[in-house]
Symmetry: C2
Subunit: 193 residues, 2 copies
DNA sequence: TTGACAAGTGGAGACTGTCTCCATATTTTG
DNA sequence: CAAAATATGGAGACAGTCTCCACTTGTCAA
């Protein structure tokens, strides 16, 4: 797993401009709750041709990933900070609570993560894999200090998070999401020896 | 919540025949792993016209629900049996373990439940609601005997199950799904007073 | 039985959104 | 500055979905 931002070929000037315009417009629309715009229309809105849109982002998901890549990276960074600041078990709890909190006010991210987690297919799910890696680290550290059980992996926690992401538009979202985190954390805690 | 099988109007003989043919063919295809057939083509395969298909099942989801309604009902019935046979906490565990076990060999059901849980919209999600009710009962009984905490509702557990259903085609599905159930059960258990 | 009315049918074709293709335009390079 | 490389846009091919209605089939009272 080498570099991934500074990957490969240096885009031509106009190409980069268009790509950025596309992402900017998408971010704007997503923020306004508009997720199901006709793809061709979206190209018009961003001021580029259909072909250009498709060349840069072959699918809706690719676009969504690009839009939220930054935000996701920020979350992963936060996890690293927590990990060097707090005891392992607190870092884990803090991260998961913060995760839900963040999703609650960023529907687009929840939506995107739900999609990304569903498609385990390599390249596209790069963002989801990064999240998996972070959780793996958090978990491993807590296991090492003996505060949590060692028989569940990051995949298990991710599956629970998947449920949380997928339910982004339920009326009882917040309550239930918090509940799931509570359950996961309590369930992870080692039962007295 | 009145009756729902013997609801409303008595379908005409040929109509019922067509409806049954549709469900039968869908079941057959689903069992063979074919979920994304063109809807019109499916009508042909079942030996009816496109219009007839759409009249009986306005959407793919409606068809899927009809196909799995029976199976879902069976699961709910099982829950009731468990509830009168075992202590409340064992009934809950047994049901959840069995749930995963069943999903593991019935991809179509997992897929359908994931969709149904995602669309909270009343009529269509009738099946999902039934599942919710059953879990609510199981949970309430266990809470009453004081073996599990009382601060998480059925919605929370459903959210975790949603994650399980949505991941039906991941390579590590079984391991992770079992892990989630373990976490949920351990998390529910009352911490020593 | 039968006639008349209700209920249901099927499939042509309208419609909607996706995606490709390539003649043209822009940028980079030597 | 010309040639080569790179990128553009949008018309139109395509693929599914879904509607509409002239026609068929079933039901039921007489």
């Amino acid at each position: 797993m080498g570099p991934h931002v500074t990957d490969a070929k240096p885009l031509r000037a106009d190409a980069r401009r268009n790509r950025d315009a596309l992402i900017a417009k998408a971010r704007e629309l997503f923020a306004g709750g508009c997720f199901n715009l006709r793809f061709d229309d979206f190209a018009k809105l961003a001021g580029v041709g259909t072909g250009t849109l498709y060349r840069h982002f072959p699918t809706r998901e690719a676009l969504a990933e690009a839009v939220y890549r930054e935000e996701l990276t920020a979350m992963c960074d936060r996890a690293h900070e927590l990990q060097v600041t707090l005891p392992a078990d607190e870092a884990l709890e803090s991260f998961l609570r913060g995760f839900v909190d963040h999703l609650h006010s960023h529907e687009g991210l929840a939506r995107t993560l739900a999609t990304l987690m569903a498609t385990q297919s390599g390249a596209l799910a790069e963002g989801a894999q990064a999240l998996g890696q972070v959780i793996d680290d958090l978990l491993a550290a807590a296991v090492a200090t003996g505060t949590i059980r060692d028989d569940v992996g990051a995949g298990t926690v991710m599956m629970a998070l998947h449920g949380i992401c997928a339910a982004y538009d339920h009326p009882t979202y917040r309550t239930d999401a918090d509940g799931v985190i509570t359950l996961v954390l309590a369930g992870l805690r080692r039962t007295a020896p």
